[in-house]
Symmetry: C2
Subunit: 210 residues, 2 copies
């Protein structure tokens, strides 16, 4: 498995010890056999660690939810994607209550069936407070454009899942799509920025004007 | 300044030593005076560290670019936002060349004036390889929806900057907007997911069916 995935043997053993990866079937005292499911799980762990920046404890929560076949799908999706929301170390300040109200108002206006006290609304409120402190309180004016774009992307995500994903892979796909979809969008946003900046602020490259 | 921003004195001293924050004016041997610019810079550092997850070295690059008034705006914007693209530790594998071609094709099809060898296209190609390895190679089918949404958001970002930001604050605003805009979008995408998931997979909460 180490050869197939490029992950070192001690690292694989560490994941097994930490409960992220099921143990392989022992074929001899120092050789274990791992199947396709193990390889897929190992790739999931690597994506969450390296791309998602999750902690080992966070990943343990995600894989426990992925492996929980008993609970209703919507509940499991919530449990599996909860650790994927970044948490910011912040002192509670004056602005946070107002920001939470803004977020709750947005959720209501959109008709979204989301709990305003969950981790995603809290992350949003924290970002709004940071923007306000940095002199960008008026950023809330473009929140609707962001929300429109987020709705379109979320709809495309769900369509993709409905067309391409077997039900038993649903939760794992949601985790993968949440983490990697963020990376994809943020890279595309930067590309679109560069283009917009180039047309707005001129096309000088390496000091040469064109 | 520590009182105004909630950042401890040793931490402020550390930022000054690391070249992130200009030294205050010494008013006595153990008391320095810091102005509004210092407070704003300190808030920027905290946002990049805590929300953007940047390293001290990355932030040093950002603030050097922000403080560089000589270079053309478009160049400085590029230099300031470059460290904001996450880099993933990956072995170069078979899939990356094909993924780079996909990304270059997308940039050309969009007519984006972006360098396909920059850090953002590379982050995108890496995410596509990870998706492919996890069995989601067909995710490229929704890339155009992502790119449309990214264009809308980027246009809103530029409009916001044009309406609300003084030219001397342009580069700093671009940095703030890039980092915090990602957080805002990713939180909104999760909220939109929850809503879409709730309508698709049912509204059971805490085990109770409605």
């Amino acid at each position: 498995m180490s050869r197939r995935t490029g992950v070192s043997v001690p690292t694989i053993k560490f994941y097994v010890r930490e409960g992220l990866l099921p143990a392989g079937e022992l074929t001899s005292p120092n050789q274990a056999s791992y199947g396709e499911t193990h390889v897929q799980r190992l790739r999931l762990i690597r994506a969450l660690l390296e791309v998602g920046g999750l902690s080992v404890a966070g990943i343990r929560g995600v894989v426990a939810a992925v492996d929980d076949a008993e609970r209703p799908v919507h509940d499991v999706l919530g449990a599996a994607t909860k650790p994927l929301v970044p948490r910011y170390e912040r002192e509670p300040g004056d602005g946070i209550d107002e920001a939470r109200k803004t977020v709750a108002g947005l959720i209501a206006a959109r008709g979204w069936g989301a709990d305003p006290s969950g981790p995603a609304p809290e992350a949003l409120a924290t970002a709004l407070v940071a923007l306000d402190e940095l002199g960008h309180g008026r950023f809330v004016e473009v929140l609707d454009t962001y929300a429109d774009a987020a709705e379109r992307v979320a709809r495309a995500d769900l369509d993709y899942v409905a067309r391409h994903v077997a039900r038993e892979e649903l939760v794992e796909s949601a985790v993968v799509g949440t983490v990697l979809g963020d990376v994809v969008f943020s890279a595309l946003r930067r590309l679109a920025h560069m283009d917009a900046s180039e047309s707005t602020f001129g096309r000088t490259r390496g000091g040469e004007a064109e």
